[in-house]
Symmetry: C2
Subunit: 332 residues, 2 copies
């Protein structure tokens, strides 16, 4: 039985969406316990589950505009910090929050702590491909700057995650670069290319270009936090912009277009579902001594449920233990 600490007060739809997601997860998975951190009365309004769940009451929460490091140091009683502390103290096996991303990163680093040998934990997310398979990408912005050594470690972390959580055997690891030839890129990319070419722990397939990301050319895409952040936000922004333009086109297209949209509805929904990768769970701060996972701030109950499912898989398949093992064996 694994215990997951949930920050019940983080995100736009807290605590309702969080608690409803917890209800669904507890009904589905009989092998997990949930500890909810937050305002007891407000949580109880939505809580249906009555076993394998407990509430730790607190009035304090970290706001979305709080300064990350300062807030987790000053607000020791905040729901998010209590959740991270429970992991540190061995009372929970993982922590999930939909709150302030920076603060969760700080809580992960300073409360939960890094795995020995890992320099800079990274944000990892699962992104969709048009063929319906997924890929994982890291770092998506835990760091503003990275060295070649960090990216070398990310290749290993991403590979372990893909294998354990996505069930991919020998995940194909690609380096995001400005061309596919081995000679491409800035000095950072060239150095990483060299390191990964000689790394037996990963199945390195070389450089990949951003144009090919959603075509499933790799199972794990490695990049620095600045580029990863820009690419992730570009994918999101472009998707949203196209759907919004499609909506306007239908609206401005008169009866004929509306009729068309009516008949196409199911196909358009199917497409939206494909692009809606919330079913892949939240963003993992990988490289820490336990799963620390960020739900999107606008998460609904469904995304919360899927994030719990994802964390359960991480615990079941012992991703963290496997990474600890790998990094204790060798000096990566």
């Amino acid at each position: 039985m694994k215990t997951i600490a949930m920050d019940a007060m983080g995100g736009d739809n807290a605590p309702q969406a969080i608690v409803e997601g917890v209800n669904q997860a507890l009904a589905e998975f009989s092998d997990i316990k949930i500890k909810l951190y937050g305002h007891e009365e407000k949580i109880k309004q939505y809580l249906k589950a009555n076993e394998r769940v407990s509430i730790v009451h607190t009035d304090v929460k970290i706001n979305s505009d709080d300064e990350p490091v300062k807030s987790i140091r000053k607000k020791k009683e905040a729901s998010m910090v209590l959740g991270a502390q429970a992991v540190k103290d061995g009372k929970a096996d993982a922590v999930i929050s939909a709150g302030n991303t920076g603060a969760l990163l700080a809580a992960g680093l300073f409360v939960v702590g890094r795995i020995k040998g890992i320099d800079r934990p990274a944000l990892l997310s699962t992104l969709p491909t048009i063929d319906g398979r997924n890929f994982v990408m890291l770092d998506l912005g835990a760091n503003a700057e990275n060295t070649a050594h960090h990216l070398h470690q990310y290749a290993i972390l991403g590979s372990f995650y893909s294998e354990a959580v996505q069930g991919v055997a020998k995940p194909r690891v690609g380096l995001l670069n400005n061309g596919t030839e081995s000679s491409k890129g800035d000095p950072l990319r060239k150095e990483v290319y060299e390191l990964l070419s000689q790394e037996p722990a990963v199945n390195f397939i070389g450089n990949i270009e951003a144009r090919e990301l959603l075509n499933g050319v790799a199972d794990v895409v490695v990049t620095d936090g600045f580029t990863g952040n820009a690419v992730l936000k570009t994918i999101e922004g472009t998707g949203l912009s196209i759907f919004s333009a499609l909506k306007s086109a239908i609206k401005d297209g008169g009866t004929k277009a509306k009729l068309g949209a009516f008949f196409l509805k199911d196909s358009l929904y199917g497409l939206r579902d494909l692009m809606d990768y919330s079913s892949a769970g939240g963003a993992v701060l990988i490289g820490l001594q336990a799963p620390v996972v960020k739900c999107h701030g606008s998460s609904d109950a469904k995304s919360v449920y899927y994030t719990i499912k994802q964390v359960r898989t991480m615990l079941e398949n012992q991703v963290v233990d496997k990474i600890v093992d790998e990094f204790s064996k060798k000096n990566h």
Copy 2:
């Protein structure tokens, strides 16, 4: 009367698409001359225009897999190099090619030459926004690495281009960063932020995030060549992936979906036109002593025509002269 040198042999559809684009441009614009560089007989097969046009015959061309710098040095008689040389010799005012991008960059740098005071010319393109206005972004990959000083210059170059070619008064210049707050980013972004905050030649509006790019939050977006390349390719790749998924969804959706697509056809075409920003012309290598412009390798006659139109506007509004003026006055 301005003269534009055209590499008739570059790109997937050369020389047909190039020459057909030239036919259209010459019919439309009575104030330009075109010099076509390439295989005379092949060019003549498609050439309809018979005044203000001349052909300079050559058998040599730069291939898409030629090594850029080496090829422009060795193949002095290649159609692309002859076009650049014509600009250098004052026989043409600008050069356009749909061929090897790296070779065109090299020809621009080593044959046409930089404007005095500009360290590293950048690739600039016009990208679409969902409201139908456009924005320009640079560097899109002329450089694998940039300093804060380069990005400072790009803000000025982009601003001059936006004003002269897009007709935007006081263009809003944004710095692509991993958050909007002034404190965000890696050391490079922080330094650029400081430089641009104190630069009277540009209307700096601060940091912008990649998620907002297509929403028209800025007229000029400044970034380093590595990130710009990744973001541009992500926009292209995401757009293509969504349209291809939409196509499959319609195909797999049976009669109902096909009926819907039929009624929605005009709206979908409208949307495609919005995303098809070929009407904004090619990618400009900005910072050189004359317009050097890259058409997409898969350009059709229409894109070639629009690129000629774009170059004509650049020449008419004297973008290069204005940049030369600005950089001779001050030490940016």
